[in-house]
């Protein structure tokens, strides 16, 4: 059986967490944070770009809807490490190696939330808009989409938080971010490095969640005061 890296047990002077480690490695931490955030944003953005036409397609016919949703679930069931390593041979060091799998995983959340959001739109609101002489296109942009925004943003929040956690696996194929530091810490048998970057991943997820919650409030002022 092949193991990644050498293992040395009983290492001294390697605390679970150390402030000194953080100050001494602030440069590496900042650069890993930048990469991690970039990869997450690229993945969710690509996921959104793909999810929108998929949701539009799913709204055409009931059978298309179940086809699209089942496809997303099936993709989601594929373990990330297999998906990522499968792309290494094709995209090599390009960030697409992790961005494509993570974008595919975000579909299951994004497509479902876009569909739920659009389904929530009241028929009377659409009828009223039509009565005002709006075209279908304008109805979609001015009525349906704004009403669906809270649910869609809730989906984006969920997608961002779970993507931040999934980016870590990219470290296995050397794709920057906290994951690479975590795998390096594993190879170097360093508790400090591992725990620091695990805690940073959790913190980043919490910060991203809070930022998106604020964005959701700002984008939907009419919903203010109503529980998300």
């Amino acid at each position: 059986m092949r193991l990644p890296g050498d293992f040395h047990f009983h290492k001294m002077g390697d605390p679970w967490l150390s402030w000194h480690y953080i100050t001494a490695n602030s440069h590496a931490i900042l650069s890993a944070t930048r990469t991690h955030v970039t990869l997450t944003l690229e993945a969710v953005a690509l996921g959104l770009v793909v999810a929108m036409p998929m949701a539009a397609l799913a709204r055409q016919q009931p059978w298309l809807r179940s086809l699209v949703l089942n496809l997303c679930t099936a993709i989601y069931a594929v373990p990330s490490i297999a998906f990522i390593v499968a792309l290494v041979n094709i995209f090599e060091l390009s960030s697409l190696t992790v961005v494509i799998p993570l974008a595919s995983y975000s579909l299951v959340i994004l497509v479902r939330n876009i569909l739920t959001g659009l389904d929530e739109v009241d028929g009377e609101a659409v009828a009223a808009a039509r009565g005002m002489g709006m075209s279908d296109r304008r109805i979609f942009l001015k009525v349906r989409l704004p009403i669906a925004v809270p649910t869609i943003i809730a989906g984006i929040r969920l997608a961002v938080v779970s993507t931040i956690e999934l980016v870590v696996i990219g470290g296995y194929v050397g794709q920057g971010g906290y994951g690479e530091e975590i795998f390096q810490g594993f190879a170097a048998n360093s508790h400090t490095q591992l725990t620091t970057y695990i805690v940073l991943t959790v913190l980043l997820a919490l910060v991203a969640d809070a930022v998106l919650l604020v964005a959701q409030r700002l984008l939907t002022p009419w919903k203010r005061g109503v529980a998300a």
Binding site: A77, E165, Y178, N189
Partner: protein
């Protein structure tokens, strides 16, 4: 080199050729020269997953039952579920491996259990809380003790939702057990890590196919099992999933 006579590696080095060779060779499925074949790894994968799922249920179901009896139980359940979602499971697994547990199946199973508890816990908790208060009151009126009410009334009524939780946990465990190969506890993930380590993409792609097919099959099987259980034990109306 004349060009008309290709060297052996030029003929046989395409990824597609490696893949078909790997898929059709007996040794990749049954193992050879001390290397575990797909079937051996599959058994390991099933063993790790069943063990993790069993321990998860043994912890999460009683824990959820106990939390329903506590005023702040709901808060604990939601915080655990939200907290676990943002913790990177690979990190925890690697940390356990270099930490007190050491590389091997134990570290993998512990990490899998930690992350499988939230879905079972949340669904069991909701399932018990959704049981009609009149029903439990009637059971108390019949002279049942609190433990009897839980065992004979509330848990059976919560079975459909418990089944949903176990299904979600099982699919997650099966997928995540792939990562366990990184810390030397075998399983189907070995195909990918081994192939990647040797830069032998025939094995990588063969492994990806095996892993993807089994993962989708487990998902479909668990949905079937869940539907059968729901049909047998009735359906509670609950939001989500």
């Amino acid at each position: 080199m004349t060009g008309s006579v290709p060297l052996p590696e030029q003929v046989n080095n395409s990824t597609w050729h490696q893949f078909t060779t790997w898929m059709t060779s007996r040794s990749s499925w049954f193992g050879a020269d001390g290397n575990a074949g797909v079937f051996h790894l599959l058994v390991q994968h099933i063993w790790i997953s069943v063990l993790a799922l069993g321990i998860t249920c043994a912890i999460a179901i009683p824990m959820a039952a106990a939390l329903t009896r506590w005023r702040r139980g709901g808060l604990v359940v939601t915080s655990l579920a939200n907290g676990a979602r943002s913790i990177p499971i690979v990190g925890v697994m690697l940390l356990l491996a270099i930490g007190p547990v050491g590389v091997g199946t134990e570290a993998a199973v512990i990490a899998l259990v930690i992350f499988a508890i939230p879905p079972v816990l949340t669904n069991t908790y909701t399932g018990i809380r959704e049981v009609d208060a009149d029903t439990t009151r009637a059971a108390v009126g019949m002279g049942m003790t609190r433990l009897q009410v839980m065992r004979a009334v509330e848990l059976p009524l919560a079975i459909p939702l418990i089944a949903t939780g176990v299904r979600l946990a099982a699919v997650q465990v099966w997928a995540t057990a792939t990562i366990a190969a990184l810390i030397g506890s075998g399983g189907l993930g070995n195909l990918v890590t081994n192939g990647y380590g040797l830069q032998y993409y025939g094995e990588v792609y063969g492994g990806v196919v095996v892993i993807a097919v089994t993962a989708i099959a487990v998902d479909a099987l668990m949905r079937r099992a869940e539907n059968a259980i729901r049909a047998r034990f009735g359906q509670l109306v609950v939001a989500g999933f």
